[in-house]
């Protein structure tokens, strides 16, 4: 093995340690976890996973999370596309200020919005629906998506738009048939980040749901407090939450480098 690989390998090993710990715990019983530290499961068990996949209160958590995360990703990207196009193609009064203001939305802590959202959604009977969480997450994800997409769109020369108009394309036909395929990489990257932020966000998701749309992360915290420390079960649930992210990353891994090159990710 080449020497230059030693340092990166050590770094990756270091990063993977907690994930390995989580995975190994998920195959242990709670008693073994509490009994002391061991590198490998002594009594290998799939009991934790079986429980999650058979108990509706558990697996519904995943389904709920996936529903509102996907819903949010679709809303965020489809709303951000025309907005980003406007920022990249048109000059209007205060455009730069507005663009920056969008970003400041990301600086506000979610806790600030939790209570007003709770009251508003209760009033319009959106409380405890997937849409409620999806809409709440738009607050952070739309600015992010606009920011990422604007970078990709500004990399496309304006002459492309003009050529299409001269060829006879109407705006929307051009936008859907030519422009969107051209910035597919950017859409992939924006969708990925929306997905990830929405997937890991807990405070708003927990506050705006009670039963029907409860996210997996909220179910994990509740279980831990009512039935003692079911650490093995928690570890299994935690391991499963990694999967969707890893899955999405696989699809956009090549595009993300491009996003970094534009300085927008």
């Amino acid at each position: 093995m080449n020497k230059k690989w030693i340092l990166p390998s050590l770094y990756i090993l270091f990063l993977m340690l907690p994930i390995y710990g989580l995975l190994s715990m998920s195959f242990k019983t709670t008693n073994e976890i509490l009994g002391g530290f061991s590198l490998f499961p002594q009594n290998f068990t799939l009991e934790n996973y079986i429980k999650i996949f058979t108990d509706p209160t558990w697996y519904n958590g995943y389904i709920n999370s996936l529903i509102y995360v996907c819903l949010n990703t679709v809303i965020s990207v489809s709303v951000a596309l025309p907005a980003a196009y406007a920022f990249s193609r048109y000059r209007f009064l205060g455009d730069k200020h507005l663009f920056f203001w969008l970003l400041t939305n990301r600086m506000a802590p979610p806790a600030v919005f939790a209570l007003p959202f709770f009251q508003l959604y209760s009033a319009i009977e959106l409380f405890d629906t997937h849409l409620a969480v999806a809409l709440a997450h738009c607050l952070f994800n739309i600015p992010l998506a606009v920011w990422i997409l604007e970078g990709f769109m500004s990399g496309i020369p304006k002459e492309l738009d003009e050529t299409a108009y001269l060829d006879g394309y109407s705006f929307w036909r051009f936008f859907i048939r030519i422009f969107i395929p051209t910035i597919a990489a950017g859409i992939g990257v924006a969708a990925f980040f929306c997905f990830m932020y929405s997937w890991v966000e807990l405070l708003l998701a927990k506050t705006l749901t009670s039963v029907d749309a409860k996210p997996i992360a909220a179910i994990m915290t509740r279980t831990a407090s009512t039935s003692g420390y079911e650490l093995g079960l928690l570890a299994a649930a935690g391991s499963l939450t990694i999967i969707p992210g890893a899955f999405v990353i696989y699809f956009v891994r090549n595009y993300i480098a491009k996003g970094f090159a534009l300085g927008r990710v």
Binding site: L166, G168, Y169, T182
Partner: protein, 354 residues
């Protein structure tokens, strides 16, 4: 298609890009817009295409006012200096796209795409994506897309500027031929006087947002109607100097003089400007002899270009063959006084027979 600009001007913010312009281009003509960077070539083209709305004035096509009509409804095609193609479409789909939008039947689209792919030698790469082509092939694709729809007005904005030398020469030869039978009005922007001369047709010389002169390319090269027009249409820049006309003679200074042509002789005495193209000022030969000090000498291929200070004027001499000079050397240059262009105190040409 005839296209006519009537008092068209373009101002963006406080900046005037095009001053009031009147220009009328005839169907089937090959027209050249010649000017340096920022002279307004691209702005003028964008106005003709309808991509930019004129601040004042009107645009007429075939006797119809089209000023407010959206670009989609006009019969216009444009090729840019940067290679613009639809990145997600194959070469075939790129060329076919204007026909598809127009809703032509499939077999007709196919026939026309094949025809223009053959013409531009793109047949072997029809199924590749633009990114997989060389620069020349990308620009050919863009040209094919502009040609295929048979637009009445084709705008070419320095289409060859980003290509390498060899490809440029090749395409420059082919371009006028391609459009020869189409009946389209072609407008070709370039910053190189030599390119304009090679392409022929008609030329409008542009300077700082104004059309300086418009006419047949060779005639406006030979007879620029003002000093400004002569400057635009000369590379290296035209040599100028002030002369004093007394009777039948022109005096560059006390020791250098020559006989003026009949047209100038009949004009009143006084100060005039002359323009002399660099390739008419030679380090050997006969004619009017002037002394000068060599400041810079460079050899580009078979041409020697020398910058010399002649009687207080910075002049350029461009001669065939290799002439070597020492920096600061003092020596004689010659020019044929018949080659001089004379301009009056308003910088307007005093008509002469060449």
């Amino acid at each position: 298609m005839a296209i006519e600009l009537r008092n068209v001007s373009l101002r963006i913010g406080a900046e005037t890009h095009i001053y009031e312009t009147n220009l009328s281009l005839q169907p089937g003509q090959f027209n050249i817009l010649l000017g340096t960077t920022l002279s307004g070539k691209t702005s003028l083209m964008r106005l003709m295409a309808g991509l930019e709305k004129p601040t004042s004035g009107e645009l007429w096509m075939n006797g119809e006012a089209v000023t407010g009509i959206p670009v989609q409804k006009r019969s216009v095609a444009m090729v840019y200096q940067a290679f613009i193609n639809y990145p997600s479409f194959s070469v075939y789909d790129n060329i076919a796209s204007p026909l598809k939008v127009a809703g032509l039947p499939k077999d007709e689209i196919d026939a026309r795409v094949q025809q223009f792919a053959d013409l531009l030698q793109l047949t072997p790469m029809l199924h590749r994506l633009p990114d997989e082509l060389s620069g020349g092939q990308q620009q050919r694709t863009a040209l094919a897309r502009a040609l295929v729809k048979g637009a009445d007005l084709v705008l070419l904005d320095e289409p060859l500027a980003n290509l390498d030398y060899k490809l440029r020469e090749e395409l420059r030869d082919e371009l006028p031929k391609m459009f020869a039978d189409s009946g389209a009005t072609v407008v070709y922007a370039t910053s190189e006087p030599l390119e304009a001369l090679m392409l022929g047709g008609y030329t409008a010389t542009l300077n700082e947002g104004r059309v300086v002169q418009f006419g047949e390319t060779s005639s406006i090269y030979r007879q620029p109607d003002s000093l400004e027009a002569a400057r635009v249409f000369s590379d290296p820049p035209i040599n100028t100097a002030t002369i004093e006309k007394r009777g039948n003679s022109a005096y560059l200074n006390d020791s250098v003089s020559w006989t003026v042509p009949a047209q100038l002789a009949s004009m009143p005495d006084g100060r005039y400007s002359i323009g002399l193209r660099p390739h008419h000022l030679l380090p050997d030969g006969e004619g009017v002899k002037v002394g000068g000090e060599v400041q810079i000498a460079e050899i580009s291929g078979s041409e020697s270009i020398m910058r010399v200070n002649i009687e207080g004027n910075n002049w350029v001499s461009e001669a065939h063959g290799i002439h070597s000079f020492e920096f600061g050397e003092h020596r004689s240059f010659f020019f044929d006084s018949k080659r001089c262009l004379y301009f009056d105190s308003n910088d307007k040409l005093v008509e002469t027979q060449v």
